[in-house]
């Protein structure tokens, strides 16, 4: 029997009021300002910008406050916000070689032209809880040294001369796919794959990248280079016809260099995987580059044998807003669906017992 139900409005309103109360917490503790989140929980802000696919630190900080620190909820809020704004156009491609470097490391070239700088990193810390932070002790001022003026070329350019490493080819004004305008279709080109990975869930991509290291689609990766810092975004407005600076954008870039045995057409050379992410997120950029390379499997005539190489699997499941939407919708009322299932199971049980009875009678 179909029963239409209505109600719960009062309960919903009161639940949201309670949520606001719990979000605020005990009032004898100072209210958290979005500016504090933006400056002191900067890596959470970076993650929300990257996966929310919207560069706006102040907005991401506010979303984190609103979501009580639930980052996927904050990402959802940011995604919803972006749908309310018109799009002015697309920027000139960011020139990461002109980055104001804040961190730059290579696991393959010790003496990198331009040098290796560690920058603000958790690497080499002992991962011991620092109780001084709870005591509110001010940190010592950072050490200074004469600034570098050497250019910092991409590490992948160093091997380019010998053809030992696959070269990227920049062609003219070709169409750039945009999955926010056209639904993904398979097989998807690398531009669409990179867009999906750049906004994909860090945890999901981390697990997939890890799976390739453990043997599920091995790619023999080396970190050619990781760099983090600000690059100037440029945009050509229609009415001006020349590029204007929009402002600095902080990004992390990872160049993964992978072994490749070659084929009948291609001599042996290193192939590449690429990661580019808003903000400072090395884990995400590295995972992205591992999965980017894994998804290029077919391009190199290799067999698709592992989940990380299966683009339909990866791209259909890497978006955490889509994923959480479908998983969490299960908690919404399914009374009618369940009623139907209930009726079906009852009928099947009646038939089952009737059959059992018949068998018993036949045996006797």
């Amino acid at each position: 029997m179909y029963v239409a139900v209505k109600g719960g409005e009062g309960a919903i309103d009161n639940a949201h009021a309670l949520l606001a109360h719990e979000r605020r917490g005990p009032t004898h503790i100072a209210d958290l300002a979005p500016e504090q989140i933006e400056s002191q929980l900067a890596l959470a802000v970076d993650r929300v910008m990257a996966e929310g696919s919207l560069y706006d630190p102040a907005l991401a900080a506010l979303a984190i406050k609103q979501s009580r620190g639930d980052l996927i909820e904050a990402i959802f809020l940011v995604r919803a916000f972006r749908t309310t704004l018109p799009r002015f156009g697309a920027s000139q491609p960011l020139d990461t070689s002109a980055m104001a470097i804040e961190r730059r490391i290579s696991a393959t070239f010790k003496d990198l032209p331009g040098g290796q700088v560690l920058g603000p990193t958790f690497d080499y810390t002992h991962r011991l809880i620092d109780f001084m932070l709870a005591a509110g002790v001010a940190p010592p001022p950072p050490v200074e040294a004469p600034a570098e003026t050497e250019p910092t070329p991409r590490v992948t350019d160093l091997l380019d001369g010998e053809g030992l490493i696959e070269a990227e080819t920049a062609t003219g004004n070709e169409d750039v796919g945009d999955l926010t305008r056209t639904p993904l279709d398979f097989p998807a080109n690398r531009d669409l794959r990179l867009q999906a990975l750049a906004r994909g869930d860090e945890g999901f991509l981390l697990a997939l990248g890890y799976s390739t290291q453990r043997g599920y689609g091995r790619t023999h990766p080396f970190v050619g280079e990781i760099r983090f810092g600000e690059v100037e975004a440029e945009f050509v407005p229609e009415e001006l016809g020349f590029a204007v600076p929009l402002g600095p954008v902080a990004v992390t870039e990872c160049q993964m260099v992978n072994q490749f045995h070659g084929s009948a057409e291609v001599p042996p050379q290193f192939t590449r995987g690429y990661g580019l992410v808003f903000g400072q997120s090395e884990r995400k950029a590295m995972s992205m580059s591992l999965v980017d390379r894994a998804l290029r499997t077919r391009e190199f005539g290799e067999d698709v044998v592992a989940p990380a190489q299966d683009e339909e699997f990866v791209l259909s499941h890497c978006d955490n807003v889509q994923a959480t939407g479908f998983v969490e919708h299960l908690k919404l009322p399914h009374y009618v669906d369940f009623q139907a299932e209930l009726g079906l199971v009852r009928q099947m049980r009646t038939e089952y017992f009737a059959r059992q009875e018949e068998l018993k009678e036949a045996a006797e």
Binding site: S53, L54, Y55, D56, A58, L85, P86, R87, F88, G89, A90, S91, Q92, P93, L94, T96, S97, A100, I101, E102, R103, D111, G115, Q116, V117, P142, E144, A145, A147, E148, R154, T156, D157, E168, T169, A170, T171, V176, G177, D178, T180, R190, D191, L192, L194, A198, E232, A233, F235, P237, E239, V244, P245, L246, G247, P248, V249, V251, Y274, L276
Partner: protein, 136 residues
């Protein structure tokens, strides 16, 4: 223009206050916030792809003498974008020197911060050395 994008809203308001300008300024287009899709390149130098969007606010103004000014800036601050557009219009005429002088402290602040950051980063440079092998 680059100094205007990196300036704080207060800095830009102070910059504009430091340049004599007419009060009858017409908006050629209502100042509005929107999105610009930021692009990257595969491998840093290959074919372009869409990295993700950024909020951008744009303003377009006209001075009584007919000069026009434009601004496109990251973020959602309408007043700041409009101030930048007015400065852009003023810069294209006799007030150029006054605009340059008014924005000089902002530029100096941005450069000093970038230089301090570069010095702090330089202190984290890794200097590798080879250990002497103990074969003899």
């Amino acid at each position: 223009m680059a100094a205007c994008t990196a300036a704080s809203p207060d800095e830009l308001a102070a910059t504009l206050a430091g340049v004599p300008h007419p009060s009858e300024i017409v908006d050629l287009r209502a100042t509005e916030s929107g999105l610009v899709m930021l692009r990257g390149r595969m491998g840093g130098d290959g074919r372009p792809f869409n990295l993700g969007e950024a909020t951008v606010t744009r303003a377009a103004v006209r001075l009584p003498d007919g000069r026009t000014g434009f601004a496109y800036q990251l973020g959602r601050d309408a007043a700041k974008a409009r101030n930048a557009a007015i400065l852009d219009a003023l810069w294209q005429g006799p007030e150029r020197a006054a605009v340059e002088a008014a924005i000089a402290p902002v530029r100096a602040r941005i450069e000093a911060e970038a230089a301090a950051r570069a010095r702090r980063v330089a202190a984290t440079r890794v200097n590798f050395f080879t250990m002497v092998r103990g074969e003899d």
